[in-house]
Protein backbone atom coordinates (compact mmCIF):
# COMPACT_ATOMS: atom_id res chain seq x y z
CA UNK A 1 0.00 0.00 0.00
CA UNK A 2 1.08 3.52 -0.77
CA UNK A 3 0.40 6.87 0.88
CA UNK A 4 0.16 9.78 -1.52
CA UNK A 5 0.65 13.19 0.07
CA UNK A 6 -0.22 15.97 -2.34
CA UNK A 7 0.40 19.62 -1.62
CA UNK A 8 -1.97 21.62 -3.80
CA UNK A 9 -3.30 25.15 -4.10
CA UNK A 10 -6.19 25.71 -1.63
CA UNK A 11 -8.48 26.86 -4.43
CA UNK A 12 -7.78 23.67 -6.35
CA UNK A 13 -8.29 21.22 -3.51
CA UNK A 14 -12.08 21.06 -3.92
CA UNK A 15 -11.63 20.11 -7.56
CA UNK A 16 -9.04 17.48 -6.65
CA UNK A 17 -11.41 16.00 -4.05
CA UNK A 18 -14.31 15.96 -6.51
CA UNK A 19 -12.18 14.32 -9.22
CA UNK A 20 -10.90 11.70 -6.78
CA UNK A 21 -14.48 10.93 -5.75
CA UNK A 22 -15.47 10.53 -9.39
CA UNK A 23 -12.45 8.30 -9.99
CA UNK A 24 -13.58 6.02 -7.16
CA UNK A 25 -11.22 7.11 -4.38
CA UNK A 26 -13.48 8.70 -1.78
CA UNK A 27 -11.17 8.38 1.21
CA UNK A 28 -9.06 11.51 1.66
CA UNK A 29 -7.81 13.59 4.59
CA UNK A 30 -7.20 17.31 4.12
CA UNK A 31 -5.12 19.73 6.16
CA UNK A 32 -4.28 23.32 5.50
CA UNK A 33 -0.58 24.05 5.72
CA UNK A 34 1.82 26.85 4.88
CA UNK A 35 5.10 26.47 3.07
CA UNK A 36 7.46 27.52 0.37
CA UNK A 37 8.98 25.75 -2.60
CA UNK A 38 12.10 26.13 -4.65
CA UNK A 39 11.01 29.58 -5.88
CA UNK A 40 11.69 30.65 -2.26
CA UNK A 41 8.20 32.06 -1.94
CA UNK A 42 6.86 35.03 -3.85
CA UNK A 43 8.61 38.39 -3.96
CA UNK A 44 6.32 41.35 -4.47
CA UNK A 45 8.24 44.61 -4.38
CA UNK A 46 10.36 44.63 -1.26
CA UNK A 47 8.40 41.98 0.59
CA UNK A 48 9.00 38.24 0.25
CA UNK A 49 6.12 35.96 1.16
CA UNK A 50 7.60 32.60 2.07
CA UNK A 51 4.69 31.12 3.99
CA UNK A 52 2.25 30.46 1.21
CA UNK A 53 -1.01 28.71 2.14
CA UNK A 54 -1.51 25.28 0.61
CA UNK A 55 -3.70 22.25 1.21
CA UNK A 56 -2.14 18.91 2.10
CA UNK A 57 -4.13 15.85 1.00
CA UNK A 58 -3.48 12.34 2.29
CA UNK A 59 -4.67 9.38 0.25
CA UNK A 60 -3.79 5.76 0.89
CA UNK A 61 -4.21 3.47 -2.11
CA UNK A 62 -3.22 0.02 -3.35
CA UNK A 63 0.06 -0.19 -5.27
CA UNK A 64 -1.68 -0.81 -8.59
CA UNK A 65 -3.78 2.36 -8.26
CA UNK A 66 -0.78 4.58 -7.51
CA UNK A 67 -0.12 5.92 -11.00
CA UNK A 68 -3.79 6.48 -11.75
CA UNK A 69 -4.39 8.48 -8.56
CA UNK A 70 -1.25 10.56 -9.09
CA UNK A 71 -2.34 11.35 -12.64
CA UNK A 72 -5.81 12.31 -11.41
CA UNK A 73 -4.35 14.67 -8.80
CA UNK A 74 -1.91 16.23 -11.28
CA UNK A 75 -4.63 16.75 -13.85
CA UNK A 76 -6.97 18.37 -11.31
CA UNK A 77 -4.41 20.48 -9.48
CA UNK A 78 -2.67 22.05 -12.48
CA UNK A 79 -3.56 25.64 -13.18
CA UNK A 80 -3.84 26.46 -16.87
CA UNK A 81 -2.89 23.97 -19.56
CA UNK A 82 0.79 23.62 -18.80
CA UNK A 83 0.74 24.33 -15.07
CA UNK A 84 2.52 27.09 -13.19
CA UNK A 85 4.90 27.59 -10.30
CA UNK A 86 3.12 26.97 -7.03
CA UNK A 87 0.84 24.20 -8.25
CA UNK A 88 2.33 21.91 -5.66
CA UNK A 89 4.14 18.64 -5.13
CA UNK A 90 3.21 15.00 -4.62
CA UNK A 91 5.14 12.72 -2.29
CA UNK A 92 4.77 8.95 -2.24
CA UNK A 93 5.57 6.84 0.83
CA UNK A 94 5.08 3.15 1.55
CA UNK A 95 2.51 2.05 4.15
CA UNK A 96 3.11 -1.26 5.92
CA UNK A 97 -0.14 -1.81 7.74
CA UNK A 98 -3.63 -0.31 7.80
CA UNK A 99 -6.00 -0.70 10.75
CA UNK A 100 -9.67 0.23 10.67
CA UNK A 101 -10.53 1.30 14.20
CA UNK A 102 -14.26 0.52 14.14
CA UNK A 103 -13.83 -3.12 13.16
CA UNK A 104 -10.25 -3.67 14.31
CA UNK A 105 -9.37 -5.20 10.95
CA UNK A 106 -5.73 -5.15 9.92
CA UNK A 107 -4.64 -5.06 6.31
CA UNK A 108 -1.07 -5.74 5.31
CA UNK A 109 0.88 -5.04 2.16
CA UNK A 110 0.29 -8.54 0.79
CA UNK A 111 -3.48 -8.04 0.94
CA UNK A 112 -4.19 -10.27 3.94
CA UNK A 113 -6.84 -9.12 6.39
CA UNK A 114 -7.27 -10.27 9.96
CA UNK A 115 -9.01 -9.03 13.04
CA UNK A 116 -6.84 -7.72 15.86
CA UNK A 117 -7.52 -9.03 19.33
CA UNK A 118 -7.51 -6.25 21.90
Amino acid sequence: MIMIRSIVRPEKSDKVLADLMDAGFPAVTRMSVVGRGKQRGIKIGEITYDELPKDLLFTVVKDKDKDFVIKTVIKAARSGGKGAFGDGKIFVTPVDEIYTISSGIRETDSGETEEVKI
Binding site: M3, L17, M21, A27, T29, R30, M31, S102
Partner: protein
Protein backbone atom coordinates in the same frame (compact mmCIF):
# COMPACT_ATOMS: atom_id res chain seq x y z
CA UNK B 1 11.44 2.80 13.50
CA UNK B 2 7.88 3.20 12.34
CA UNK B 3 5.53 6.13 12.02
CA UNK B 4 2.00 5.47 13.24
CA UNK B 5 -0.46 7.91 11.70
CA UNK B 6 -3.90 7.69 13.29
CA UNK B 7 -7.03 9.53 12.24
CA UNK B 8 -9.54 9.65 15.10
CA UNK B 9 -12.73 11.37 16.21
CA UNK B 10 -12.41 14.94 17.52
CA UNK B 11 -13.87 14.18 20.95
CA UNK B 12 -11.64 11.13 21.52
CA UNK B 13 -8.44 13.20 21.67
CA UNK B 14 -8.20 13.49 25.46
CA UNK B 15 -8.91 9.83 26.16
CA UNK B 16 -6.43 8.78 23.50
CA UNK B 17 -3.71 11.05 24.86
CA UNK B 18 -4.23 9.72 28.37
CA UNK B 19 -4.26 6.09 27.27
CA UNK B 20 -1.10 6.55 25.21
CA UNK B 21 0.66 8.23 28.12
CA UNK B 22 -0.40 5.37 30.42
CA UNK B 23 0.99 2.91 27.89
CA UNK B 24 4.34 4.70 27.94
CA UNK B 25 4.04 6.46 24.60
CA UNK B 26 4.40 10.07 25.59
CA UNK B 27 5.58 11.84 22.45
CA UNK B 28 3.14 12.64 19.69
CA UNK B 29 2.16 15.34 17.23
CA UNK B 30 -1.50 16.15 16.63
CA UNK B 31 -3.40 18.36 14.23
CA UNK B 32 -6.91 19.13 13.12
CA UNK B 33 -7.81 17.74 9.73
CA UNK B 34 -10.81 17.36 7.49
CA UNK B 35 -11.56 14.14 5.73
CA UNK B 36 -13.91 11.62 4.29
CA UNK B 37 -13.95 7.86 4.27
CA UNK B 38 -15.59 5.36 1.98
CA UNK B 39 -18.39 7.84 1.26
CA UNK B 40 -20.87 7.31 4.05
CA UNK B 41 -24.20 9.02 4.34
CA UNK B 42 -24.92 11.44 7.17
CA UNK B 43 -28.08 10.05 8.75
CA UNK B 44 -29.08 13.27 10.55
CA UNK B 45 -29.03 15.02 7.19
CA UNK B 46 -31.21 12.37 5.59
CA UNK B 47 -33.66 12.50 8.46
CA UNK B 48 -33.81 16.28 8.23
CA UNK B 49 -34.44 16.11 4.50
CA UNK B 50 -37.19 13.55 5.07
CA UNK B 51 -38.89 15.91 7.48
CA UNK B 52 -38.64 18.67 4.91
CA UNK B 53 -36.04 21.01 6.36
CA UNK B 54 -34.75 23.11 3.47
CA UNK B 55 -31.26 23.45 4.92
CA UNK B 56 -30.79 19.69 4.95
CA UNK B 57 -32.15 19.31 1.43
CA UNK B 58 -29.83 21.96 0.04
CA UNK B 59 -26.83 20.21 1.59
CA UNK B 60 -27.79 16.83 0.16
CA UNK B 61 -26.92 17.96 -3.35
CA UNK B 62 -23.27 18.60 -2.55
CA UNK B 63 -21.17 15.66 -3.58
CA UNK B 64 -18.38 16.10 -1.05
CA UNK B 65 -18.79 16.47 2.67
CA UNK B 66 -15.68 16.60 4.81
CA UNK B 67 -15.83 15.63 8.45
CA UNK B 68 -13.54 17.22 11.03
CA UNK B 69 -11.09 14.76 12.54
CA UNK B 70 -7.95 14.72 14.63
CA UNK B 71 -4.80 13.31 13.15
CA UNK B 72 -1.94 11.95 15.28
CA UNK B 73 1.61 11.33 14.16
CA UNK B 74 3.61 9.06 16.46
CA UNK B 75 7.10 7.78 15.67
CA UNK B 76 7.94 4.68 17.68
CA UNK B 77 10.43 1.83 17.79
CA UNK B 78 9.51 -1.32 15.91
CA UNK B 79 8.67 -3.27 19.08
CA UNK B 80 6.24 -0.57 20.26
CA UNK B 81 4.12 -0.48 17.10
CA UNK B 82 1.72 -3.21 18.20
CA UNK B 83 1.21 -1.65 21.63
CA UNK B 84 0.56 1.78 20.12
CA UNK B 85 -1.93 0.48 17.58
CA UNK B 86 -3.78 -1.65 20.14
CA UNK B 87 -4.01 1.24 22.59
CA UNK B 88 -5.47 3.53 19.96
CA UNK B 89 -7.95 0.92 18.75
CA UNK B 90 -9.03 0.05 22.30
CA UNK B 91 -9.83 3.65 23.20
CA UNK B 92 -11.39 4.72 19.91
CA UNK B 93 -13.44 1.66 18.97
CA UNK B 94 -17.17 2.28 19.17
CA UNK B 95 -17.97 -0.14 16.36
CA UNK B 96 -19.65 2.52 14.26
CA UNK B 97 -18.25 3.81 11.01
CA UNK B 98 -16.21 6.97 11.39
CA UNK B 99 -13.97 5.64 14.15
CA UNK B 100 -10.95 6.30 11.97
CA UNK B 101 -7.94 4.62 10.41
CA UNK B 102 -4.40 3.86 11.47
CA UNK B 103 -1.52 3.73 9.01
CA UNK B 104 1.88 2.29 9.82
CA UNK B 105 4.78 3.56 7.74
CA UNK B 106 8.53 2.98 7.81
CA UNK B 107 10.83 5.82 8.94
CA UNK B 108 14.38 5.83 7.67
CA UNK B 109 16.10 7.92 10.33
CA UNK B 110 15.42 10.23 13.20
CA UNK B 111 17.64 12.93 14.68
CA UNK B 112 17.42 14.67 18.04
CA UNK B 113 17.93 18.33 17.28
CA UNK B 114 19.26 19.23 20.74
CA UNK B 115 22.25 16.87 20.64
CA UNK B 116 22.46 15.71 17.05
CA UNK B 117 22.05 12.04 18.07
CA UNK B 118 20.77 9.77 15.35
CA UNK B 119 18.84 6.52 15.17
CA UNK B 120 16.38 4.68 17.37
CA UNK B 121 17.79 5.92 20.70
CA UNK B 122 16.31 9.32 19.99
CA UNK B 123 12.88 7.81 20.64
CA UNK B 124 11.16 6.88 23.89
CA UNK B 125 11.46 3.34 25.25
Amino acid sequence: MKEVMAIIRMNMMNQTKRALADAGISSLTARDALGRGKGLVDMTLLKGAEQGYEEAISQLGQSQRLIPKRILFIVVKEKMVEKTVKTIIKVNQTGKSGDGKIFVMPVRDSVRVRTGEKGANTLDD
